[in-house]
Amino acid sequence: MKALLVRLEPVIWMLFGAGMMVGAFLLPAFILVVGLAGPLGWTGAEALSYQRMHGLATHPVGRLVLLAAIALPLWVGAHQLRHVWIDLGGLKTDGLVGSLLYGTALVGGLLGVVAVSRL
């Protein structure tokens, strides 16, 4: 498993790099509005309504944004957490932990593709 992770490193790095940019450019606004402003009542009731959100999400640009916001930052989290794990002495279990983290990113990304295509 470790050998496979080493072989896949360039692909993982590409997804990681893209995920850093996408995560930085998209996720703070999502967290601010959907995670904080909406639940705390700072936005109007209409802002996060189903009809409005569904309309935004089904627009072609909306689909692309959602897909990017789901599929790419997952790889950042997986890659960063894997390396924190290694740095803190987890090299012996790196194959298992790395596979679990990258597996989460892969499955999450695929589920994202399915979800966005079913909108």
Binding site: A24, P28, G35, P39, A47, Y50, V84, L88, R118
Partner: protein, 152 residues
């Protein structure tokens, strides 16, 4: 003299080490002394841990999209669940973490650029930083205004 950890207690950092020895003998890598408690190492590790916010937040976006797929009742249940104090606390922490993570990533980015790619030299570091920080501010402001209902 700083006290060194015995070799058998030092974690190995060679995640990318070849499974077979190569022709050049190299010493086993070892962490710096007093890793991870002192110097820049806590910040370095915190930067790594903040990657977890991106992973968890992306999974939350995925949950939101599945709720949209499930229809109005599922979406309303998703939005209502975000009012739980644990979610509010997580999102407050995640917002701080992701913004700090992003700005630190931008500050590191110019140092990762090659001297030149073919005949093209990358722009000076201040220009790269201005583009990244400006893009961060504009993209997030636009998306926040759209989600808030002020635009579109």
């Amino acid at each position: 003299m700083p006290e060194l950890q015995p070799p058998h207690l030092r974690p190995r950092l060679d995640a990318m080490k070849s499974s077979r020895p190569g022709p050049t003998r190299t010493a086993d890598p070892r962490p710096p002394d007093h890793f991870p408690a002192r110097g820049n190492y806590p910040v370095y590790l915190l930067f790594g841990v903040c990657g977890g916010f991106l992973l968890l937040t992306s999974l939350l976006v995925l949950r939101g999209v599945w709720a949209l797929v499930g229809g109005e009742a599922a979406w309303n249940a998703f939005v209502a669940s975000l009012s739980h104090p644990l979610y509010i606390g997580y999102h407050a922490l995640a917002l701080l973490g992701v913004v700090w993570f992003s700005l630190r990533f931008f500050s590191i980015f110019p140092k990762t650029q090659p001297a030149r790619i073919g005949p093209v030299k990358p722009p000076p570091a201040p220009v790269i930083l201005a583009i990244l920080n400006g893009g961060f501010a504009v993209a997030n402001a636009l998306l926040a205004l759209i989600l808030w209902g002020e635009l579109l």
